[in-house]
């Protein structure tokens, strides 16, 4: 294996590096620009360096009520994450056996992933409008709306995060060794004990991955929220609203703050996954080492 790398390696390595630069370059540009001086504009060059624009966001004197939108997005993201993890793990376990409606659930998930978001969003908004009309007509005349962050908004986000969760579960159980569960049962474990002490620790790193997808996809979700979120805005919706009237760098500052949360969550999740994998490797199987 001493032969040198072929020329195609270098060509493709440069191509790959260019792709990565293309991915990250523009983002890094706005992160830098959000530290513009108070008189700075929308483009380079920098007019001094300051945290003026970022501080302005948190003072609430900016264009949007950042604090409220921030808390709403965070709350929704955390709930979506928890629901996505629980429902995906449960459904993933179900798919290991045959059951009726298996293919209905599978195709619903795939369809939910690829039906254009605007259609799902419109559908949810129509559904809630019709429910509202029914309530107004039959029960409360002064009923406002059942649409909201944690009703239609939560549902809209779940149609986007659950398919990813389910697909990750498929990938996990494709390489899961069922003999481990049989061994647990042979040793007298109940189904719950088997899940809690054998299955869950093994799949935990990937389950954290599902949580990562659940939170970040919700945190940045826009297309599905657009029609279905009700009267309030999430952070990305506020950000999108800013794009049409943008004149100074607070839009970059807002972008940087949103990204900072994303990156914190990504780092935490990847760090945890790394630690768990390390621990699994260290405490790995003692098969074949004889009786201790």
């Amino acid at each position: 294996m001493k032969e040198g790398r072929p020329r195609s390696f270098y060509v493709l390595a440069i191509f790959f590096a260019a792709y990565v630069l293309f991915l990250y370059g523009p983002m890094i540009a706005i992160y830098i620009l959000s530290f513009q001086g108070p008189s700075g504009g929308l483009t380079f060059p920098m007019n001094g360096v300051s945290t003026f624009w970022i501080a302005k966001l948190f003072q609430g004197t900016g264009i949007v009520d950042l604090g409220a939108a921030f808390r709403r997005s965070l709350l929704l993201g955390i709930i979506v994450m928890i629901v996505t993890v629980v429902l995906s793990v449960a459904a993933g376990m179900a798919f290991r056996r045959r059951f009726k409606a298996q293919s209905i659930l599978f195709y619903s998930a795939i369809a939910s992933l690829i039906v254009p978001s605007i259609i799902t969003s419109l559908g949810i908004s129509l559904e809630f409008r019709i429910i509202d009309d029914l309530i107004k007509a039959h029960w409360h005349e002064n009923f406002e709306t059942s649409m909201g962050l944690l009703t239609s908004g939560l549902g809209a986000h779940l149609t986007w995060t659950l398919p990813f969760g389910l697909l990750i579960m498929f990938a996990i159980f494709n390489r899961f060794d069922p003999r481990l569960e049989e061994a647990a049962r042979d040793l007298g474990a109940t189904p719950w004990q088997t899940f809690r002490h054998v299955v869950l620790p093994i799949i935990l790193p990937s389950v954290i991955g599902i949580g990562l997808f659940g939170f970040t996809l919700s945190w940045d979700e826009l297309a599905r929220s657009s029609q279905a979120i009700g009267a309030v805005n999430t952070l990305p919706l506020d950000l999108q609203g800013l794009t049409t009237t943008v004149t100074n760098p607070d839009i970059y500052a807002l972008g940087t703050v949103i990204s900072a949360v994303s990156f914190t969550v990504i780092t935490l999740a990847l760090g945890t996954i790394h630690v768990l994998n390390k621990r699994q490797a260290a405490k790995g199987s003692d098969a074949g080492k004889g009786l201790v």
């Binding site: 790959f16 056996r97 409606a101 419109l122």
Partner: protein, 319 residues
């Protein structure tokens, strides 16, 4: 695979395994199919309530009537006739909806072709040239991280680069290549395609990479041993074997671009009409039946494209 349960039953029929407690819990208090329902039911309910029923409502409402400010639950084809207004009497010129779909399909095709090219070679590099597993993981992660960050931010990130006084323009002016800043860099078809490629190449890379790492390396060696050139190996071995990934990636990219209204809105300066954008405009005008009719049309066209593509590959088998 024969499970050890089956082997056990063959060897000593009637034996059950586990402690008395475990055996007790194995006794069918809950039948397996009931457990499956408990496990899969919640997710099914979410899809039912927030995806399947809403889709049904889209179809129903598309046949309702409307006036300036409200929905009228009475059968009417107005949503559709308004949408296709002028399509027949204006012939051979295209009507608005026709032009919109031509535009959408054009964007779709350009984005598909570019993401496929980039996605294929990025996946190829990761799958065949990066030998160490750690590096493969690290570089894949590098491609995935932007996917976990906000799409709007990744769009507006282009503004300081492509704007009238942006880096690209000032660079070109300084280099003497152009005299005046060019306008078509931002808020144009160009910037829309650029942003869509930037956002969604990820959806091409992942499935193609997935197909490629599953290719048995000895097949490629066999091709070389049989005298195939690099190019012949690529065309006759690697591309056919990564076809499932290519098709799945293409389905993702095409359906995203078909329904996109945010990227096209933000990067097109709200000036480009596309299929998803009409739906948004109609909703903003509170013309829900017309919006729903447009959604149904978009759904049908997307469905046709997917059906055509999934003829080539069985999606379920590939996951």
């Amino acid at each position: 695979m024969t499970t050890s349960d089956e082997i056990l039953q063959e060897g000593s029929p009637g034996v059950t395994r586990g402690s008395p407690k475990a055996q007790a819990s194995l006794r069918p208090r809950l039948s397996p199919s009931f457990v499956s329902w408990l496990q899969a039911g919640p997710m099914m309910l979410v899809f039912l309530a927030f995806f399947l029923i809403p889709l049904v409502f889209v179809v129903i409402v598309s046949f309702w009537d409307y006036n300036e400010y409200q929905l009228l639950p009475a059968f009417s084809g107005r949503g559709y006739t308004d949408t296709f207004e002028g399509c027949i009497d204006k012939l051979p010129e295209l009507c608005t909806i026709g032009r919109t779909y031509v535009m959408t399909l054009k964007l779709c095709f350009m984005v598909w072709a570019i993401t496929l090219f980039i996605g294929f070679w990025v996946a190829y590099f990761l799958a065949f040239h990066v030998k160490s597993k750690t590096w493969q993981m690290g570089l894949s992660l590098l491609c995935t991280i932007p996917f976990w960050t906000s799409n709007v931010i990744r769009m507006i990130a282009w503004i300081p680069l492509l704007g009238r006084n942006g880096l690209v323009n000032s660079g070109l002016v300084k280099a003497g290549l152009i005299n005046h800043p060019v306008e078509w860099l931002l808020f144009s078809e160009f910037s829309v395609v650029l942003a869509l490629v930037h956002l969604f190449t990820f959806f091409m890379v992942v499935p193609i990479f997935n197909s490629m790492v599953r290719i048995d390396k000895s097949l490629i060696e066999a091709a070389y041993d049989a005298g195939a050139s690099d190019f012949q190996t690529l065309v006759n071995v690697i591309i056919p074997l990564s076809k499932p990934g290519i098709v799945i990636g293409s389905i993702f990219v095409i359906t995203i671009v078909m329904g996109d209204f945010i990227t096209i809105g933000v990067m097109g300066g709200q000036q480009i009409a596309a299929a998803g954008k009409i739906i948004e405009t109609r909703v903003n005008a509170l013309q829900f039946p017309a919006a729903a009719a447009n959604a149904v049309i978009l759904l049908v066209i997307t469905f046709l494209i997917i059906t055509m593509m999934s003829r080539i590959v069985d999606i379920k088998k590939e996951l």
